[in-house]
Symmetry: C2
Subunit: 349 residues, 2 copies
């Protein structure tokens, strides 16, 4: 069997694929090794209200270990919990569960039952956790498992797992900022390899579809008046794979009487705010998804928590619009989506 | 146990980390599952003349399965082969071996003994192969295993493994071009996110060190006269982790009497050619590693087999030099190296 870091890394890579889509929940993934150390499941949490990663991993593992595939048709967290509690108790006793985040405790409030409570009953041999839950109501899951006699390995207490622990915290950045500050600002833009950002649709449809998924989770789409004038956008979520939900829009502009003619104003059940200052931007709450060009990027450079560059491997000589600023970033994560590469950046420390 | 594609993908990700460093050998990785489906080893070929991926994976697996760690001190392929043949015969009978490339046959000539011959004796339960060896002397390994009664799964014959088979072929591009055409041209440049390519050292030291490793494997370093004039480079391999070897240099320039004053001319045991035409470039043989700017990139755009962009997540407003051309690429692979991202591109099909 390989080292804990190997399996936790598989979980982290898996969880990043659901980044932002799980908000306001964290992106989490879990992996089950059977008594012999074979991987029997690797699953990620998909969306708030849907089963947690641990529950999905235990569901798949139960089917693989017991041969009872009836459980696979269950979609609701409560139903999977109940089925596992009724049928699976002896099955997990020699398994190991890897999870990127501390399982939620029995005290937590929410749409789905507690993972710690489930694990306490199923009693896997060992639970390996990449990082702690800091949420007041959900934390304490690890301690509950320990008190139930389950071996718990906390990555933050193990020298060899410090790097993976740090990566697990990086994955949680959007979730934690929302939780602690009530606000998380993401700036997203699409670019080609030569830095050009103009000249028509840059990203693939797959990347666009993922963008629309992110929009469904945004509290506010922030965009500049200039982008509205130039692109005349709808800012809707028609390509989303998640349930469509068109977020409210905030437009940052110096223009006093901003014309309400762009298609974005026609989207039903949408509030559009016109903002005239950075102070107003700073007062926005929730997941603020900024899409824009060089002007907005520079204006918000110091307020941004995370930057997502969707880079297309092309060059377009006639373009000369680029992101014109001085800035250094750390690369938190990268992910290939079709022929684009998603780069998740934080300001360089 | 998860699907074959999952384990082959782990192998491919592992093998890409050694891309180019194994030349003129292919980049290959192998993984062993024990009788219960647990991963016991995942190893890649490191350099021509050193043990093949299968041998390293079997070495690690043998130590894990037998508890006999004496084998781990062996470095030479022949010694590991002999040790395994003497001690390991019953140990592998229920294991599975995943490998990105068909194991080399008994007929092959080379510095290391045949992997197929070794496997025929160790008799794993099943060998799963992502793609075929096309080398005249090395191919036929899969057939040998079949004839020895070993179950062989060839990804190219399995519908569900077509995507991974294609990815395995992509990994082999440099190796196969060298093998079939006697020539492989790579263009490499470093850039920031805004497309800027000027203004001092762009990449991290880790990326630079990997570049120097690639240089040790190059037959010719091709560079433009302009780059020599502007950068006054040494083009050496002082940061290489592999054994230092300073490749020959070819300089493409229109200038008739090119001055031999740059430090690159002072490197011992180096031949420097001055080329005045694209025809002369086309006549170069072996692994041709081109490093340069926009001019050379444009001139060689249609001759290039693979392009490597080393992208640093920074912006530098005062820079205005960029790669100025029209071109569309497919992203073959991406890999984060420290804070840089390596993008491996082929011309869009």
């Amino acid at each position: 069997m390989l080292a804990h870091a190997f399996y936790l890394d598989l979980c982290l890579q898996c969880a990043w694929k659901e980044q932002l889509k799980t908000l306001p929940n964290p992106a989490v993934a879990a992996l089950v090794l059977d008594e012999n150390g074979a991987i029997v499941s690797l699953e990620s949490h998909k969306e708030c209200g849907k089963p947690h990663a641990e529950v999905l991993a235990l569901q798949k593992a139960y089917a693989a270990l017991s041969g009872d595939n009836a459980i696979l048709s269950l979609k609701e967290s409560q139903a999977i919990h109940s089925y596992l509690l009724k049928n699976a108790i002896p099955i997990f006793k020699d398994t190991m569960l890897y999870v990127t985040l501390e399982p939620c405790s029995s005290n937590k409030k929410g749409k789905t039952p507690s993972c710690a409570a489930l694990l306490k009953t199923l009693k896997p041999k060992c639970v390996i956790i990449a990082t702690q839950d800091c949420d007041k109501s959900a934390k304490g899951g690890a301690q509950e498992l320990i008190e139930a006699g389950i071996c718990v390995i906390k990555a933050w207490e193990v020298e060899a797992l410090q790097a993976i622990h740090k990566q697990a915290n990086a994955l949680l950045l959007p979730f934690r900022l929302l939780q602690t500050q009530g606000k998380f600002m993401l700036f997203k833009y699409a670019s080609r390899l030569d830095g050009s950002i103009d000249g028509g649709q840059i990203s693939t449809h797959q990347a666009q579809s993922l963008m629309h998924d992110y929009r469904t989770k945004a509290d506010v789409l922030l965009i500049s008046g200039e982008s509205v004038r130039v692109d005349n956008p709808r800012l809707d979520t028609r390509f989303a794979t998640l349930e469509q939900r068109n977020p409210n829009v905030a437009i940052l502009t110096r223009q006093k009487d901003f014309p309400k003619s762009a298609p974005l104003f026609e989207i039903p059940n949408r509030k559009v705010e016109i903002l005239h200052s950075l102070e107003q931007v700073k007062a926005l709450r929730g997941f603020i998804f900024c899409e824009g060009g060089s002007g907005l990027f520079k204006a918000l450079q110091n307020s941004m928590d995370l930057t997502l560059v969707i880079l297309s491997p092309n060059f377009k000589r006639d373009s000369n619009l680029t992101m014109s600023l001085n800035a250094n970033f750390n690369l938190l994560h990268s992910e290939q989506i079709a022929d684009d590469i998603f780069l998740w950046l934080i300001p360089k420390d």
